[in-house]
């Protein structure tokens, strides 16, 4: 009876692997978990940080930031387009602005953890023209180590988002707005 590829690969890996080596412990390196650091880094990579007093100011803040947004989707308030995981692609493609709650901000690199449960639809954070992530400033940690320490599991799908979609594939010229959201605003409260 011939072996399957699975059996052959596993047997070869077992036969050819070196003697077992220890798994290092990853320390918590500490670091600066401040709004200032988060803001500086995120601004440096093309994102925007806006601060507001509390969630009750969200509507007004968004109105000022995105006065022209017509098709808005959000789990935080009743948007102009209801989106759920069944929403057809054609409707998603017309969304101007998605306003989604972020869960953890990382000061060292300006990224925000966005779990599936906060997205309405998995494609929404990238298919929308503009993305606003709403984050409690007390949820800012210093490094990725601390962020992952708060995530026992990343769920079915989830991502760290650091700034707007961008590319430098044409002669290394930085262009904001490749395929995903053309802008990213993190609204801190």
């Amino acid at each position: 009876m011939s072996l399957t590829s699975r059996e052959r690969i596993l047997a070869a890996a077992k036969a050819n692997k070196p003697e077992e080596l220890p798994l290092p412990t990853v320390p918590d390196f500490g670091g600066e978990a401040t709004v200032e650091r988060f803001t500086t880094v995120l601004t440096g990579i093309g994102g925007t940080v806006v601060r507001m007093g509390g969630l009750q100011e969200l509507g007004e803040t968004l109105q000022q930031l995105f006065p022209e947004a017509r098709n808005v989707a959000s789990p935080l308030f009743r948007g102009t387009v209801p989106v759920n995981r069944e929403t057809p692609t054609g409707i998603l493609a017309e969304i101007d602005l998605a306003v989604l709650p972020g869960e953890i901000g990382v000061a060292e690199n300006g990224c925000v953890w966005l779990p599936e449960a906060n997205m309405l639809h998995r494609a929404l954070p990238t298919i929308t023209q503009h993305l606003a992530l709403v984050l409690d400033q007390r949820q800012i940690v210093a490094t990725m180590h601390q962020a992952y320490a708060q995530l026992p599991h990343t769920g079915g799908y989830g991502k760290f988002v650091a700034g707007p979609s961008k590319t430098a594939d044409i002669e290394q010229s930085l262009v904001i707005g490749a395929h995903g959201a053309r802008s990213l605003v993190v609204v801190l409260y």
Binding site: S5, L21, P22, E108, V161, S165, V175, H179
Partner: protein
């Protein structure tokens, strides 16, 4: 064809070569600035190296742990021994899904397996969605860099390509407007995509999730709109725990482009309800490399491209001169494992300066491995006769003080007396093709030293 001969073609355009060199050095400098901003960067490199070494030492076990976790997440797991099997599995999944349109984000593995031509040959439309990859796909070229696939092209080249394929205005060379044209074109492809293929940056044994890092968001858009997601991963992409990912995400983008992190770091564990997710785990020569103690460490590579950006040879010869999916220093140690004869000149495409080793975020001893490959290739008679006999001859000269002294005397005289046309004849002295030979000194250091008065005895009252 050797690396040097292919590099000659790239070097014909001196302006472009200079631009290529300077641009990659600029990326290297960005990398340095990003690295110096992290106090514990050297510690992170050590950790990353240790985690990868550990993982390789239990690779079979972690692969099984990963498979079990992924299956528990509702993911279909496939195993492919080689490129042909990888391609066949992907075609089969696509056909079973009744699909004919695939959107694909960047994956060096699918490039290594020549997946695109295979699928196209079987009537499937495959669209590369990374902007750089789309550009070279239009031009029917392979990538010349693993992170910056179209780095060999100028904006005028992209303008011409888009004019032909996307109908942009002739002479339109503005990167912003060209990118916008690509955005509109690719959006239509994303919306119509039935199957999405992605690569894998990291696969987490503990959770069964695969992590994909992009700046453009093309993987996220493709995967989340299509009905079927196929992730293609080499067996070496495994890391044990979610917490290990903190180390690698801190190193990857900083080493690659000098960014603090990629725009999107996406964790795919379960298919969305009503959709399918497949992971194809591929060997294609990797277990063989695992069994070569001298070259095993090359499997730790996280494909950041830092070694290419810093390499003086890569920067001046261009990625296509390597004629291998992964070019540059890391490619020059991976490629002879696949085909020693075909890639025999690549381990010599290095100054052995060690800069690649210095910047490698997982501490692969790249230049040492290049040196070791040279020995292996020499033993296997895979180096040109002129190099082989030249080395043997130099070995004899350098082993004998007397012969070395005589040779020096002879060379100093010959350099002064022989005509330029002879000492610089390209057929006899390839070294002098683009260089001037030094002016020969009248005497050697040894002759000079012998004429010096003996040094005074050291004083006992040293400070």
């Amino acid at each position: 064809m050797s690396h040097a001969i292919r590099a000659d073609k790239f070097l014909l355009d001196a302006d472009r070569t200079t631009w290529h060199d300077e641009t990659l050095w600029f990326v290297r400098e960005k990398r340095d600035r990003a690295v110096y901003a992290v106090p514990e960067f050297q510690e992170l490199r050590e950790l990353a190296s240790g985690i990868k070494n550990h993982t390789l030492s239990r690779l079979d076990l972690y692969l099984q742990e990963f498979e079990a976790a992924a299956k528990a997440n509702g993911v279909h797991v496939h195993w492919a021994a080689d490129a042909a099997e990888h391609n066949a599995i992907i075609l089969d999944i696509t056909r079973k899904a009744g699909a004919t349109r695939i959107v694909k984000s960047k994956s060096m593995l699918t490039e290594e397996c020549h997946l695109n031509p295979f699928l196209i040959q079987h009537g499937i439309e495959v669209v590369d969605t990374d902007l750089g990859e789309r550009i070279i796909q239009f031009r029917d070229e392979p990538p010349s860099h693993i992170v910056l696939p179209a780095i060999h092209l100028k904006k005028e080249d992209v303008g011409d390509t888009f004019h032909t394929h996307l109908g942009t205005d002739k002479g339109e060379n503005d990167p912003q407007r060209l990118t916008e044209a690509a955005r509109q074109h690719l959006r239509a492809k994303f919306l119509a995509g039935e199957v999405a293929i992605s690569g894998v940056n990291f696969a987490i044994a503990e959770t069964g999730a695969v992590v994909v890092c992009t700046n453009e968001g093309n993987a996220d858009l493709g995967v989340n709109l299509a009905r079927v997601h196929i992730a293609a991963m080499g067996i070496e992409k495994i890391i044990p725990r979610l917490s290990d990912l903190g180390v690698f995400t801190r190193l990857l983008a900083r080493s690659a482009t000098g960014q603090p992190v990629t725009t999107y770091t996406s964790h795919f564990a379960k298919p969305a309800p009503g959709k399918e997710m497949h992971i194809v785990i591929v060997d294609n020569g990797r277990t063989q490399q695992l069994g070569r103690p001298d070259f095993r460490a090359s499997l730790k590579c996280i494909r950041c491209g830092a070694c290419m950006n810093t390499c003086p040879v890569y920067r001046r010869s261009g990625g296509h001169s390597y004629d291998f999916t992964v070019p540059g220093p890391i490619g020059a140690i991976l490629s002879p494992n696949i085909d020693m004869k075909k890639h025999s000149s690549l381990p010599f495409a290095s100054t052995l300066c060690g800069s690649c080793t210095d910047v490698c975020p997982v501490k692969i001893d790249i230049h040492t491995q290049l040196y070791k490959w040279r020995q292996v290739l020499g033993e296997a008679n895979e180096i040109p006769a002129s190099k082989k006999w030249g080395m043997k001859f130099m070995g004899r000269v350098l082993a004998s003080t007397r012969v070395y002294g005589l040779g020096g005397q002879f060379a100093r005289k010959a350099l002064r007396l022989l005509p330029h046309g002879l000492t610089h004849a390209p057929s006899m002295n390839a070294w002098a093709v683009a260089r001037e030979l030094p002016e020969a000194p009248k005497q050697s250091f040894r002759e000079w030293y012998a004429k010096q008065p003996a040094p005074a005895a050291p004083s006992k009252t040293s400070a």
